[in-house]
Protein backbone atom coordinates (compact mmCIF):
# COMPACT_ATOMS: atom_id res chain seq x y z
CA UNK A 1 0.00 0.00 0.00
CA UNK A 2 2.81 2.46 0.74
CA UNK A 3 6.39 2.64 -0.49
CA UNK A 4 7.95 3.29 2.90
CA UNK A 5 6.44 1.42 5.77
CA UNK A 6 7.17 0.61 9.34
CA UNK A 7 7.85 -3.07 10.13
CA UNK A 8 4.43 -3.18 11.82
CA UNK A 9 2.81 -1.88 8.66
CA UNK A 10 4.66 -4.45 6.55
CA UNK A 11 3.55 -7.20 8.94
CA UNK A 12 -0.10 -6.16 8.85
CA UNK A 13 -0.06 -5.89 5.05
CA UNK A 14 1.54 -9.35 4.79
CA UNK A 15 -1.03 -10.74 7.22
CA UNK A 16 -3.81 -9.40 5.01
CA UNK A 17 -2.27 -10.79 1.81
CA UNK A 18 -1.61 -14.15 3.47
CA UNK A 19 -5.22 -14.29 4.70
CA UNK A 20 -6.46 -13.62 1.15
CA UNK A 21 -4.20 -16.39 -0.21
CA UNK A 22 -5.12 -18.92 2.47
CA UNK A 23 -7.84 -21.49 2.26
CA UNK A 24 -11.09 -19.87 3.32
CA UNK A 25 -12.00 -22.28 6.10
CA UNK A 26 -15.50 -23.51 6.76
CA UNK A 27 -18.65 -21.59 5.82
CA UNK A 28 -19.36 -21.19 9.53
CA UNK A 29 -15.99 -19.55 9.99
CA UNK A 30 -16.67 -17.18 7.10
CA UNK A 31 -20.06 -16.29 8.59
CA UNK A 32 -18.50 -15.64 11.98
CA UNK A 33 -15.83 -13.41 10.47
CA UNK A 34 -18.53 -11.42 8.69
CA UNK A 35 -20.44 -11.03 11.95
CA UNK A 36 -17.22 -9.83 13.58
CA UNK A 37 -17.09 -7.09 10.95
CA UNK A 38 -20.77 -6.38 11.60
CA UNK A 39 -21.87 -7.66 8.19
CA UNK A 40 -25.11 -9.67 8.05
CA UNK A 41 -24.44 -12.72 5.83
CA UNK A 42 -28.14 -13.55 5.40
CA UNK A 43 -29.05 -10.06 4.25
CA UNK A 44 -26.11 -10.08 1.87
CA UNK A 45 -27.07 -13.46 0.40
CA UNK A 46 -30.53 -12.09 -0.33
CA UNK A 47 -28.94 -9.11 -2.07
CA UNK A 48 -26.71 -11.54 -3.97
CA UNK A 49 -29.73 -13.46 -5.27
CA UNK A 50 -31.28 -10.21 -6.49
CA UNK A 51 -27.99 -9.26 -8.13
CA UNK A 52 -27.96 -12.53 -10.08
CA UNK A 53 -31.61 -12.12 -11.07
CA UNK A 54 -30.91 -8.66 -12.42
CA UNK A 55 -27.59 -9.19 -14.17
CA UNK A 56 -27.52 -12.92 -14.96
CA UNK A 57 -31.13 -14.11 -15.06
CA UNK A 58 -31.87 -17.72 -15.90
CA UNK A 59 -34.10 -18.30 -18.88
CA UNK A 60 -37.03 -18.89 -16.52
CA UNK A 61 -36.38 -15.60 -14.69
CA UNK A 62 -35.98 -13.74 -17.98
CA UNK A 63 -39.22 -15.26 -19.27
CA UNK A 64 -41.03 -14.22 -16.09
CA UNK A 65 -39.70 -10.65 -16.34
CA UNK A 66 -40.77 -10.43 -19.98
CA UNK A 67 -44.18 -11.86 -19.14
CA UNK A 68 -44.71 -9.25 -16.42
CA UNK A 69 -43.61 -6.48 -18.73
CA UNK A 70 -45.99 -7.68 -21.43
CA UNK A 71 -48.89 -7.86 -18.96
CA UNK A 72 -48.07 -4.37 -17.75
CA UNK A 73 -48.12 -2.99 -21.25
CA UNK A 74 -51.35 -4.79 -22.10
CA UNK A 75 -53.03 -3.33 -19.04
CA UNK A 76 -52.18 0.18 -20.15
CA UNK A 77 -54.50 1.75 -22.66
CA UNK A 78 -53.04 2.70 -26.02
CA UNK A 79 -53.13 6.38 -26.78
CA UNK A 80 -55.91 7.49 -29.11
CA UNK A 81 -54.83 8.44 -32.62
CA UNK A 82 -56.71 11.70 -32.73
CA UNK A 83 -54.71 14.63 -31.29
CA UNK A 84 -57.68 16.22 -29.60
CA UNK A 85 -58.66 12.88 -28.08
CA UNK A 86 -55.11 12.40 -26.70
CA UNK A 87 -55.20 15.82 -25.03
CA UNK A 88 -58.60 15.07 -23.56
CA UNK A 89 -57.30 11.69 -22.38
CA UNK A 90 -54.31 13.35 -20.67
CA UNK A 91 -56.62 15.74 -18.84
CA UNK A 92 -58.77 12.83 -17.64
CA UNK A 93 -55.69 10.93 -16.43
CA UNK A 94 -54.49 13.99 -14.52
CA UNK A 95 -57.94 14.35 -12.93
CA UNK A 96 -57.88 10.66 -12.02
CA UNK A 97 -54.48 10.96 -10.37
CA UNK A 98 -55.50 14.06 -8.46
CA UNK A 99 -58.63 12.25 -7.23
CA UNK A 100 -56.33 9.59 -5.77
CA UNK A 101 -54.37 12.30 -3.97
CA UNK A 102 -51.31 12.28 -6.20
CA UNK A 103 -49.39 15.40 -7.11
CA UNK A 104 -49.20 15.44 -10.86
CA UNK A 105 -45.92 16.44 -12.55
CA UNK A 106 -45.88 20.11 -13.48
CA UNK A 107 -45.29 19.31 -17.16
CA UNK A 108 -48.68 17.67 -17.39
CA UNK A 109 -50.33 20.86 -16.21
CA UNK A 110 -48.34 23.50 -17.96
CA UNK A 111 -47.34 21.83 -21.17
CA UNK A 112 -48.42 23.80 -24.16
CA UNK A 113 -50.34 21.05 -25.90
CA UNK A 114 -50.78 23.02 -29.06
CA UNK A 115 -47.05 23.13 -29.73
CA UNK A 116 -46.27 19.61 -28.49
CA UNK A 117 -45.30 16.95 -30.99
CA UNK A 118 -47.71 14.04 -31.51
CA UNK A 119 -45.04 11.65 -30.23
CA UNK A 120 -44.59 13.69 -27.04
CA UNK A 121 -48.30 13.69 -26.37
CA UNK A 122 -48.54 9.92 -26.87
CA UNK A 123 -45.52 9.39 -24.61
CA UNK A 124 -47.02 11.61 -21.90
CA UNK A 125 -50.33 9.77 -22.20
CA UNK A 126 -48.62 6.40 -21.67
CA UNK A 127 -46.51 7.67 -18.74
CA UNK A 128 -49.55 9.06 -16.96
CA UNK A 129 -51.53 5.88 -17.69
CA UNK A 130 -48.81 3.80 -16.10
CA UNK A 131 -48.65 6.10 -13.07
CA UNK A 132 -52.41 5.95 -12.63
CA UNK A 133 -52.30 2.14 -12.80
CA UNK A 134 -49.62 2.15 -10.11
CA UNK A 135 -51.68 4.45 -7.92
CA UNK A 136 -54.75 2.27 -8.32
CA UNK A 137 -52.75 -0.87 -7.45
CA UNK A 138 -51.41 0.84 -4.36
CA UNK A 139 -54.90 1.90 -3.33
CA UNK A 140 -56.24 -1.65 -3.75
CA UNK A 141 -53.43 -3.06 -1.58
CA UNK A 142 -54.18 -0.53 1.17
CA UNK A 143 -57.88 -1.39 1.08
CA UNK A 144 -56.81 -5.05 1.52
Amino acid sequence: MKEKQSPAGVFLDNLLKAACESEPGSIEEIRQDLHDHRIDPEAELAAFQQLLKTHAPTWQERAEMERREAVRKLAEPSPPKDRAAIIEGIKQLVAGMQALGSSVPAGAFHRNFESAEQQDLESLFQDLSHQLQQLKSGTKRQDG
Binding site: S6, L15, S22, I30, P41, L51, T58
Partner: protein, 213 residues
Protein backbone atom coordinates in the same frame (compact mmCIF):
# COMPACT_ATOMS: atom_id res chain seq x y z
CA UNK B 1 -14.84 -21.21 -24.29
CA UNK B 2 -17.85 -19.29 -22.98
CA UNK B 3 -17.26 -15.60 -22.43
CA UNK B 4 -16.33 -14.10 -19.07
CA UNK B 5 -19.86 -13.06 -17.92
CA UNK B 6 -21.25 -16.46 -18.81
CA UNK B 7 -18.52 -18.33 -16.95
CA UNK B 8 -18.95 -16.07 -13.93
CA UNK B 9 -22.72 -16.55 -13.94
CA UNK B 10 -22.35 -20.30 -14.16
CA UNK B 11 -19.94 -20.33 -11.23
CA UNK B 12 -21.98 -17.98 -9.03
CA UNK B 13 -25.22 -19.82 -9.73
CA UNK B 14 -23.55 -23.16 -8.98
CA UNK B 15 -23.59 -25.05 -5.67
CA UNK B 16 -20.63 -23.02 -4.31
CA UNK B 17 -21.86 -19.63 -5.47
CA UNK B 18 -23.12 -18.45 -2.10
CA UNK B 19 -19.94 -19.53 -0.33
CA UNK B 20 -17.83 -17.77 -2.97
CA UNK B 21 -19.84 -14.57 -2.50
CA UNK B 22 -19.48 -14.66 1.30
CA UNK B 23 -15.77 -15.35 0.92
CA UNK B 24 -15.34 -12.31 -1.33
CA UNK B 25 -17.34 -10.26 1.14
CA UNK B 26 -15.01 -11.30 3.95
CA UNK B 27 -11.96 -10.41 1.87
CA UNK B 28 -13.44 -7.02 1.01
CA UNK B 29 -14.05 -6.42 4.74
CA UNK B 30 -10.42 -7.32 5.47
CA UNK B 31 -9.06 -5.03 2.77
CA UNK B 32 -11.28 -2.15 3.86
CA UNK B 33 -10.24 -2.80 7.50
CA UNK B 34 -6.61 -2.40 6.53
CA UNK B 35 -7.46 0.93 4.97
CA UNK B 36 -8.98 1.98 8.25
CA UNK B 37 -12.67 1.09 7.69
CA UNK B 38 -14.69 0.34 10.80
CA UNK B 39 -18.36 -0.25 11.45
CA UNK B 40 -19.40 0.98 14.85
CA UNK B 41 -21.93 -0.54 17.23
CA UNK B 42 -24.77 1.36 15.60
CA UNK B 43 -23.95 -0.25 12.27
CA UNK B 44 -22.95 3.03 10.72
CA UNK B 45 -20.05 2.93 8.35
CA UNK B 46 -17.07 5.19 8.28
CA UNK B 47 -16.05 4.73 4.64
CA UNK B 48 -15.49 7.57 2.20
CA UNK B 49 -18.32 8.30 -0.21
CA UNK B 50 -20.68 6.00 1.69
CA UNK B 51 -19.07 2.84 0.31
CA UNK B 52 -19.04 -0.43 2.23
CA UNK B 53 -17.35 -3.78 1.66
CA UNK B 54 -20.80 -5.01 0.62
CA UNK B 55 -21.18 -2.30 -2.00
CA UNK B 56 -17.65 -2.91 -3.28
CA UNK B 57 -18.26 -6.63 -3.81
CA UNK B 58 -21.66 -5.87 -5.32
CA UNK B 59 -20.01 -3.50 -7.81
CA UNK B 60 -17.32 -6.02 -8.73
CA UNK B 61 -19.79 -8.85 -9.33
CA UNK B 62 -22.08 -6.59 -11.31
CA UNK B 63 -19.21 -5.44 -13.52
CA UNK B 64 -18.09 -9.02 -14.14
CA UNK B 65 -21.63 -10.16 -15.00
CA UNK B 66 -22.07 -7.21 -17.34
CA UNK B 67 -18.70 -7.76 -19.00
CA UNK B 68 -17.18 -4.47 -17.82
CA UNK B 69 -14.53 -6.47 -15.99
CA UNK B 70 -13.28 -9.80 -17.28
CA UNK B 71 -11.40 -12.75 -15.93
CA UNK B 72 -9.39 -15.42 -17.68
CA UNK B 73 -9.25 -19.07 -16.84
CA UNK B 74 -11.99 -21.23 -15.52
CA UNK B 75 -13.05 -22.45 -12.12
CA UNK B 76 -13.37 -21.11 -8.65
CA UNK B 77 -9.70 -20.54 -7.81
CA UNK B 78 -8.97 -18.32 -10.82
CA UNK B 79 -12.22 -16.43 -10.33
CA UNK B 80 -11.45 -15.66 -6.69
CA UNK B 81 -7.91 -14.52 -7.50
CA UNK B 82 -9.26 -12.23 -10.21
CA UNK B 83 -12.05 -10.95 -7.97
CA UNK B 84 -9.61 -10.15 -5.14
CA UNK B 85 -7.62 -8.02 -7.58
CA UNK B 86 -10.79 -6.21 -8.63
CA UNK B 87 -11.85 -5.65 -5.00
CA UNK B 88 -8.43 -4.20 -4.19
CA UNK B 89 -8.68 -1.97 -7.23
CA UNK B 90 -12.18 -0.72 -6.34
CA UNK B 91 -11.19 -0.14 -2.70
CA UNK B 92 -8.03 1.63 -3.69
CA UNK B 93 -9.98 3.96 -6.01
CA UNK B 94 -12.19 4.95 -3.09
CA UNK B 95 -9.51 5.48 -0.50
CA UNK B 96 -6.92 7.00 -2.81
CA UNK B 97 -9.23 9.65 -4.24
CA UNK B 98 -7.86 13.08 -3.40
CA UNK B 99 -11.15 14.01 -1.75
CA UNK B 100 -10.73 11.11 0.68
CA UNK B 101 -7.06 11.68 1.41
CA UNK B 102 -6.12 15.26 1.24
CA UNK B 103 -5.80 17.46 4.20
CA UNK B 104 -5.81 20.87 2.68
CA UNK B 105 -3.32 23.20 4.28
CA UNK B 106 -5.15 25.75 6.39
CA UNK B 107 -3.55 28.62 4.54
CA UNK B 108 -5.12 27.40 1.29
CA UNK B 109 -8.43 26.41 2.81
CA UNK B 110 -9.09 29.86 4.23
CA UNK B 111 -8.58 31.59 0.91
CA UNK B 112 -11.85 32.20 -0.85
CA UNK B 113 -10.81 34.19 -3.89
CA UNK B 114 -9.05 31.31 -5.70
CA UNK B 115 -5.82 33.30 -5.72
CA UNK B 116 -2.40 31.67 -5.81
CA UNK B 117 0.81 32.63 -4.23
CA UNK B 118 4.26 31.07 -4.07
CA UNK B 119 3.13 28.70 -1.31
CA UNK B 120 0.86 26.91 -3.80
CA UNK B 121 3.78 25.88 -5.94
CA UNK B 122 5.58 23.85 -3.36
CA UNK B 123 7.25 20.51 -3.90
CA UNK B 124 5.46 17.21 -4.33
CA UNK B 125 6.29 16.19 -0.79
CA UNK B 126 3.34 15.56 1.50
CA UNK B 127 2.09 18.56 3.40
CA UNK B 128 2.85 18.78 7.13
CA UNK B 129 -0.76 17.85 7.83
CA UNK B 130 -0.55 14.75 5.61
CA UNK B 131 2.74 13.77 7.24
CA UNK B 132 1.14 14.05 10.66
CA UNK B 133 -1.74 11.80 9.62
CA UNK B 134 0.72 9.30 8.20
CA UNK B 135 2.69 9.30 11.45
CA UNK B 136 -0.47 8.72 13.42
CA UNK B 137 -1.42 5.83 11.18
CA UNK B 138 2.02 4.28 11.69
CA UNK B 139 1.67 4.74 15.45
CA UNK B 140 -1.67 2.93 15.36
CA UNK B 141 -0.15 0.13 13.26
CA UNK B 142 2.74 -0.24 15.74
CA UNK B 143 0.41 -0.26 18.73
CA UNK B 144 -1.95 -2.80 17.18
CA UNK B 145 1.04 -4.96 16.31
CA UNK B 146 2.40 -4.76 19.90
CA UNK B 147 -1.00 -5.60 21.37
CA UNK B 148 -1.29 -8.60 19.05
CA UNK B 149 2.17 -9.85 20.01
CA UNK B 150 1.27 -9.53 23.69
CA UNK B 151 -1.85 -11.59 23.14
CA UNK B 152 -0.12 -14.47 21.35
CA UNK B 153 3.20 -14.47 23.20
CA UNK B 154 2.49 -17.79 24.92
CA UNK B 155 1.53 -19.54 21.67
CA UNK B 156 4.75 -20.79 20.07
CA UNK B 157 3.19 -21.78 16.77
CA UNK B 158 1.45 -18.45 16.25
CA UNK B 159 4.64 -16.64 17.25
CA UNK B 160 6.59 -18.56 14.60
CA UNK B 161 4.03 -17.62 11.96
CA UNK B 162 4.21 -13.97 13.04
CA UNK B 163 7.98 -13.98 12.63
CA UNK B 164 7.68 -15.46 9.15
CA UNK B 165 5.03 -12.88 8.20
CA UNK B 166 7.60 -10.13 8.57
CA UNK B 167 9.32 -11.39 5.42
CA UNK B 168 6.67 -13.12 3.36
CA UNK B 169 2.94 -13.35 2.81
CA UNK B 170 3.07 -16.73 1.07
CA UNK B 171 1.47 -19.47 3.20
CA UNK B 172 3.61 -22.05 1.40
CA UNK B 173 6.80 -20.19 2.29
CA UNK B 174 5.66 -19.79 5.88
CA UNK B 175 5.04 -23.54 6.07
CA UNK B 176 8.49 -24.21 4.67
CA UNK B 177 10.27 -21.82 7.05
CA UNK B 178 8.46 -22.87 10.18
CA UNK B 179 8.01 -26.56 9.48
CA UNK B 180 4.32 -26.20 10.26
CA UNK B 181 1.89 -28.14 8.10
CA UNK B 182 0.36 -25.85 5.47
CA UNK B 183 -3.20 -26.60 6.62
CA UNK B 184 -2.30 -25.41 10.08
CA UNK B 185 -0.57 -22.36 8.61
CA UNK B 186 -3.84 -21.42 6.88
CA UNK B 187 -5.68 -21.80 10.17
CA UNK B 188 -3.02 -19.83 12.07
CA UNK B 189 -3.17 -16.98 9.56
CA UNK B 190 -6.95 -16.77 9.89
CA UNK B 191 -6.61 -16.84 13.67
CA UNK B 192 -4.06 -14.02 13.63
CA UNK B 193 -6.22 -11.99 11.28
CA UNK B 194 -9.23 -12.48 13.53
CA UNK B 195 -7.25 -11.50 16.62
CA UNK B 196 -5.85 -8.41 14.89
CA UNK B 197 -9.32 -7.30 13.80
CA UNK B 198 -10.73 -7.95 17.27
CA UNK B 199 -8.36 -5.38 18.76
CA UNK B 200 -10.78 -2.52 18.34
CA UNK B 201 -9.60 0.90 17.26
CA UNK B 202 -10.56 2.72 20.49
CA UNK B 203 -8.39 0.29 22.46
CA UNK B 204 -5.51 0.78 20.04
CA UNK B 205 -5.84 4.54 20.19
CA UNK B 206 -5.97 4.50 24.01
CA UNK B 207 -2.88 2.28 24.21
CA UNK B 208 -1.04 4.50 21.72
CA UNK B 209 -1.91 7.58 23.73
CA UNK B 210 -0.70 5.98 26.97
CA UNK B 211 2.60 5.13 25.40
CA UNK B 212 3.08 8.67 24.14
CA UNK B 213 2.36 10.22 27.52
Amino acid sequence: MPDSPERAARLLRGPDGKRIYLQLLRIAAWIAWRYGWRRDEKGETLLPFGATPESIVHTVIEKVLEGQRTWQGDGEASFIIAAIGMIRSETSHIFEKPEAKVVEPIIQAERTDGSDDERDFASNDPSPEAQLLEQERETLDRTRYDLLLTEIQDDEELSDVVIALHDTHSPAEIAERTGIDIKRVYQDIRTLKRKAAAIRLPLVARAAKERQS
